[in-house]
Symmetry: C2
Subunit: 435 residues, 2 copies
């Protein structure tokens, strides 16, 4: 039998990093040791831990609700908005939903150990490219306790140790959640420190986390544009940018009238607060008299505020004149910028200038225009005759996602378990030397 027991702990030797707080060095070193053991864990062992974690969330609901009540009380005292308080709130249904999420992760195939490629060189060397975990993943997020559970579950299934740093408003909920998950994991045989949460709400800690090069293999920010840009700007460790979506829908001259209206309504109103909802509608000028007025009335009836270009304002009195700022804004709300364009190329030029490279869609019956749209534009996902709302791990068939990547390195678009892995090359020989 192969001896896959983990190595003895490191005897020190973590290189000193003058700008990184001791606490992060300690967390990071513990996470590295956990990661080494996690990388060798069987799928069965990981799934058993996930099941135990789901069980523990349900069994210890009361403790979670008590901790959460403290966050909610503090939040009210500090005047958090209703929307933020709602995101923060835990209740029985939401805890059940978190446990269900972990159970869904059990069902996902384990990507670790897959052989991605394998070949033999003329000199007889046999090379295989084998999928392995990334190692230690840092997640920096806002006051959403569900991210604590999602992120821990996904990182674990892909064999990674995780260091979580959530928004300070959710600190009591997050600490209790992490405690419950880590305890259940420990009992189920997970390596110690597989899941760690940073208790301090100090800003400096997040900064130190961003500088923990060699301890954290990748940092994934989850949250709004401000959080993500701050991490991208300050991080010395590799970052995967997620989730800023200034998405566009272009209704081409040849678009099917009914389809265009249904998709536009869906992409804007089905869930306006998420990154794959559209923020700007571009409409070919041939639709100025019929399709566009009808669509604007329907959007308005659905409480969507219209920020229109000059032509849009001329045909729709309720529209507010759009400014340059509107074309750049991810509203995440029932607002829509609308611009009439003379041609496909004018639409492409607009998108190219303002796109955050998340998701872009065209409605068209014209083959050449459809192909030009998806070939010329640069974005994680390009849609022909479908709603941008489908840019999502479940909708793509990947299962739960850790985020939607909007940069181009490593992973792009919905990031499932595979995005939390890397590979190594195994080279088997029988004495080959280089000449």
């Amino acid at each position: 039998m192969l001896d896959n027991t983990p190595l003895a702990p490191l005897k020190g030797g973590i290189v000193e990093r003058p700008n990184v707080l001791n606490s992060i060095i300690d967390l990071g070193a513990k996470a590295r040791r956990a990661a080494e053991a996690l990388a060798l864990l069987s799928t069965t062992a990981k799934n058993e831990a996930l099941a135990a974690m789901a069980e523990a969330l349900l069994a210890q609901q009361e403790k979670l609700l008590v901790a959460n009540a403290q966050d909610i009380e503090n939040g009210k005292r500090e005047g958090l908005s209703e929307a933020l308080l709602d995101r923060l709130l835990l209740n029985q249904k939401r805890i059940e939903s978190m446990a269900h999420g972990l159970r869904q992760i059990i069902e996902l195939p384990d990507p670790i150990g897959d052989i991605l490629k394998g070949w033999t060189r003329p000199n007889g060397l046999h090379i295989t490219q084998k999928r392995v975990p990334l190692g230690v993943i840092g997640i920096i997020y806002e006051a959403r306790p569900n991210v604590t559970v999602d992120a821990a579950g996904l990182c674990l299934k892909a064999g990674n140790a995780v260091i979580l740093r959530g928004g300070k408003e959710a600190i009591h909920s997050n600490l209790k959640l992490a405690e419950v998950l880590a305890e259940a994991g420990d009992k189920a045989g997970l390596p110690q420190h597989s899941i760690q949460l940073i208790a301090s709400a100090e800003r400096q800690v997040a900064h130190d986390m961003m500088q923990a090069h060699g301890l954290i293999d990748v940092l994934i920010p989850r949250g709004g544009a401000g959080l993500i840009q701050s991490v991208v700007k300050n991080a010395g460790v590799p970052v995967i940018e997620t989730g800023i979506g200034n998405c566009h829908l272009y209704i081409d001259e040849s678009a099917d009238h009914e389809m265009a209206i249904q998709i536009a309504m869906n992409a804007k109103t089905q869930r306006p607060g998420v990154c794959n909802a559209i923020e700007t509608l571009l409409v070919h000028e041939s639709h100025l008299n019929k399709l566009l007025p009808e669509l604007l009335r329907k959007l308005s009836a659905a409480a969507v505020e219209i920020r229109g270009c000059h032509e849009t304002c001329k045909i729709f009195a309720e529209a507010i004149p759009a400014t340059e700022e509107d074309w750049r804004t991810e509203y995440l709300a029932l607002k829509l910028a609308v611009r009439v364009v003379p041609s496909l190329d004018a639409a492409l030029a607009h998108i190219r200038e303002y796109s955050s490279k998340h998701s872009e869609a065209i409605i068209t019956q014209n083959y050449a225009n459809a192909e030009r749209f998806v070939n010329v534009l640069d974005a994680a996902a390009l849609f022909i005759n479908a709603s941008t709302r489908f840019t999502d791990g479940f909708e793509f068939g990947f299962g739960a996602e850790i985020g939607i990547a909007t940069q181009k390195l490593h992973a792009r678009g919905p990031m499932g378990l595979e995005a939390l892995t890397t590979y190594k090359y195994l080279v088997r020989g029988d004495g080959q030397v280089r000449t």
Copy 2:
């Protein structure tokens, strides 16, 4: 026929970046426009440009040699070492070799446009994952004129625009090389500004390049540890770390005596100045009397300086006692740290502590030990009974490489053309909306 002509140029609109010099914003904006057109270029067109570039290098040799003579003269005046002057030197043979390198890139299959995956969702959405160029690649390197040609050729073949920033000692050679390549490319129909070289030797320019978020998609440093760490530390744009190799060879108890000696000699002496040469040899204590003394004598005869642990020094009088620093050092020279270990696990613990995660090798006849070595260790390439010198794009069968990645995001190990690409999802529907 599909209309794949590039878009009209951007009408401004590059977001202001207060910390980034105007010159970089200008270079970056030009590169972005070139990248948009390059992404749509056919393989034939790219290959014709590569052939024209190879031709131009040969045709304009004289100019290149004149420019290089100026760098060599300045280098001598400033007291550059013989080794650095040799790296800097161009001659007819080296220019021919650069042209040959470009012609080899023509032979490589074009990865752009490959469909990596494709599937249909239950709702009828058809999703394909299509390989596309990264966009704009920045290369920061030292005073090696050949990197100018290699990097430009590889970036071009993978459909990317490139911004080159070489060491100041090679500035005249690099400017002339870039000029010759860009002119030949322009004549062969490449988009303008596909290849740009930064003429300024100011340090601030490299710093601005590292901050050009949104303009440069990825920065690849090529050179020594100092350069790479400086880029990793200071970059606000995504970086691929390359080439620091503190590589180990472990001779297991069961190793074949002859094979162990041949591989150790090859891995240390065949080309000691490169990142895949070994820097530390770990030897199981059972070899203290026979294999190790013989190997040390052979290494010494090949002018290798031995820095030994206590046991090594006892059996080999010429050995210099190794310090902690020796275990951490990438000598890139005819020096070797040697440590006798009591077990495989002691060897693994040593490697885990000091490895730069580049390449690690074991010589063994024991199946379980071989598997444990490659499964437990985390590195880009793990070798059983073969020399670490094979971690190389050509040796792996990828062809020319842009570097050897030692981080875990995006690409790991030898980076061929595929490492210079990303993908986008194309989603084709017939009116699907999300419910």
